[in-house]
Amino acid sequence: MSKLRKLTDKIKPTFSKGGKLSFLHSTFEAFESFLFVPDRVTSKGVHVRDSMDIKRVMTVVMIALVPSLLFGIYNIGYQHSLAANADMGFWAMVWYGFLKILPLYLVSYIVGLGIEFITAQIKGHEVSEGYLVTGLIIPLIIPVTTPLWMLALAVAFAVIIGKEIFGGTGMNIWNPALLARAFLFFAYPSHMSGDQVWVAGVDGFSGATPLAQTSEGLSSLHYSVSDMFFGFIPGSVGETSTLAILLGAVVLIYTGIGSWKIMFSTVAGALVMGLIANLAAPSPDCALAIPAWYHLIMGGFAFGAVFMATDPVTSAQTESGKWIYGFLIGVLAVIIRLFNPGYPEGMMLAILLMNTFAPLIDHIVVGRNIKRRLKRAKTV
């Protein structure tokens, strides 16, 4: 057996019941199960278990996020070099982006996991893996210039109010990462929107996002479709590159961990609503006239549809409910974008709103199932 295992076995009694540090047993357990698949065996019920566990699920989601993260790091540097008129090489841009995002991740994980560990300790639970993904997502959906103390507050809010008071991962109503973003948006709107916040390192530089530009009309849009698709635009760190997000979507759909039904119906909802807006547009140069499919590559739509709407805990749980849930997210996101001049990004609110209504959708779907089953009884 490996040395690491021997060491773990040696210190284990200290943390077990009766040991000196037994109050840290959840923490110890978390690290031990991070290093080793536990030696626990089935006790009742099935004697064999599938190899997949929540750790594996979360790992897959994290892998799916990697393309967006990497592109986001590069794009921080790229946008900076554009704004500062600096001629930076590729690696210089990556390094610049890395240095900018590192503090965000440190704060996100230290605060978030800190709270998770403390709560697990208090409740005597195992530490849940949920925050590993949430903590990876949060820095991707905020402007890179967000002050660290605000991020810390938002993370604490999201984990405590969004998750732990409901009982932890699996019990929450709203997607914790989005809740962190919503907290920031409503508490510190000046740091979360407008034209000044998207580019790091150049004071007072106005780098409007495509969404902000199109809210004034199509002719104000200064980015090409390919820039928006590949992601060379200002925006929250991970949301800009639709291509990188699509790579993540492929991973999620291939492994079956992200629901393709939700992704598909979210896109469908946005397209339908976008087309309706096109039909209703009074002039060809107003916000309503933006081609419907532009919505898919602007702002946080793609990121939200792939990584946030599909959160298995807060989305609709029934298969037919997922269609309705996704479709309404798409519709609402576009409605908010087009009819709310104060805040051009609608995806966050659309998903949070549908998180709220997901149980209602499921209730209706399950209710129909119950009726169908009762009816079946009468015919036989």
């Binding site: 064999v48 278990r49 089953r373 079946r376």
Partner: protein, 452 residues
């Protein structure tokens, strides 16, 4: 041939060690046991004491609530031990066999006198009545009830299940007699479900006086509960009965010969079996007597009476369950694996999900063990359960209703239609490692208590 019912959802567990079609051992019984714990919600009343001499068919204990339901000795000999557990709960009645074959002779009705009343009487006396289970709940049938219909599955899809055509190849006459007898108990007919793909090569479809149905699909398509759900679903207030096919043969032999014939051919299979094959033995056989087949050389193993999904771990000193014709042995998974969950490949591990690669190798068989492969969490993924439950039921909602002890919701969401074995695959695939079969057991017990 009536319409074929094709089920898509489910999973055939690719586990190593399927039994080869040969008899590798014939066991002469030494100590055998009858276990009251094999019967759900049974409170037994002892009828014998240690040292008593019994014949095959002598009542050992009775159901306290319904004293006409008797449980009889599978062999002749003496009562060796009455094993009790906590709170004096009766666990086992062990009989030391004398192998003299003394048997109680039952007065079986024939010809015109074969009616419901006489059939029930003989089944109760002989100790074969408990072969008949009722749905809802999967408990021993109530003799005073006339069920809507009787269902038998002639299709075994559980992991490593005994090949029914093979173990019953010489018992077709007994099966025929058995279904004829069962037909007297209901007006709805005896329904038998066959494997749509290869029933023609077997002989079960030649049985007369039954209504045949044809199923295809992965496990749990062979579970009688799933079949009932597709043939004639159970609603509130209805009762149907189910009998395992090999127990139908036992009932048939009782009516042909007038004695309780407890011989059965069982499969001994699994990754920790040296020579997976069939064994001729009797009901309640001791695992010790077939222990030559188990491979104890490579660490701890678990011996299960029944299949890997719903069987009971009995251990080397345990006994075969009343309803089982399969013994599975597999290695215990009591080891630590460094970064196991993070390893990208883990090609020796099976998963229903595509986060592993086992789906790329559909023919590969796995050396599965009892490791839970992760810690218990709250329900996170919601869509995996429905993929292995081919019934019009929302499993997670039903489980949550049970946890909330909400009787009305449990009724509405289908508690009457399932027992543990039907949702065993949900438990297998559950990434949160929740003990779903235990939840369902709690639900059923709550229903029995509330509805009585």
């Amino acid at each position: 041939m009536s319409e074929q019912i094709r089920l898509k959802k489910g999973l055939d567990l690719p586990v190593k060690g399927a039994a080869l079609r040969k008899i590798s051992m014939t066991v002469v019984p030494d100590v055998v046991a009858l276990k009251p714990t094999d019967f759900r919600s049974l409170t037994p009343r002892m009828l014998v004491k240690e040292g008593d001499v019994v014949k095959t068919g002598t009542p050992l204990f009775a159901d306290k609530k319904n004293p006409e339901i008797l449980f009889t000795s599978p062999v002749s000999g003496t009562v060796d031990a009455i094993v009790r557990g906590e709170k004096r709960k009766l666990l086992e009645v062990r009989i030391k066999s004398d192998n003299k074959g003394a048997a109680v002779k039952f007065d079986v009705p024939t010809g015109p006198s074969l009616d419901r009343e006489s059939v029930v009487k003989v089944l109760l006396e002989s100790g074969l009545w408990p072969c008949i289970k009722q749905r809802p709940y999967g408990i021993i049938a109530d003799p005073s009830v006339t069920p809507k219909a009787i269902f038998i599955s002639a299709m075994a899809t559980a992991p490593l299940a005994a090949d029914l055509e093979y173990v019953l190849q010489s018992e077709i006459d007994a099966l025929q007699a058995g279904v004829k007898v069962l037909g007297k108990l209901t007006k709805g007919g005896v329904h038998i479900s066959l494997d749509a793909h290869n029933y023609t090569s077997g002989s079960f479809h030649k049985l007369e006086g039954v209504i045949c149905h044809f199923f295809s699909g992965p496990h749990p398509a062979g579970n009688v509960g799933v079949q009932i759900n597709h043939i004639s679903p159970i609603s509130k207030g209805e009762t149907v009965w189910t009998v395992d096919l090999f127990l139908v043969a036992a009932i048939g032999k009782l009516f042909l010969n007038g004695v309780y014939d407890t011989s059965r051919v069982i499969a001994v299979a699994g990754p920790a079996v040296v020579n997976p094959s069939y064994v001729k033995c009797c009901a309640g056989v001791a695992m010790e007597q077939i222990s030559d087949l188990f491979n104890f050389a490579n660490g701890n193993i678990r011996i299960v009476s029944g299949d890997l999904l719903s069987g009971k771990a009995v251990g080397r000193d345990g006994f075969l369950g009343f309803y089982d014709n399969l013994v599975t042995a597999l290695p215990e998974g009591d080891y630590h694996e460094l970064f196991g969950w993070a390893k990208p490949f883990r090609l020796k591990k099976f998963s229903f999900s595509r986060s592993y690669y086992s789906w790329l190798m559909p023919r590969k068989k796995y050396n599965m063990d009892t490791n839970t492969n992760g810690g218990e969490r709250a329900f996170v993924l919601s869509d995996v359960y429905g993929k292995v439950l081919p019934m019009d039921i929302y499993p997670v909602y039903l489980f949550k209703a049970i946890l909330a002890r909400d009787i009305e919701k449990m009724e509405n969401l289908g508690i009457y239609e399932i027992i543990e074995e039907d949702v065993a695959l949900c438990e297998f695939v559950c990434p949160s490692k929740i003990e779903i079969q235990s939840i369902v057991s709690q639900g059923i017990e709550l229903m029995i208590k509330e509805m009585s």
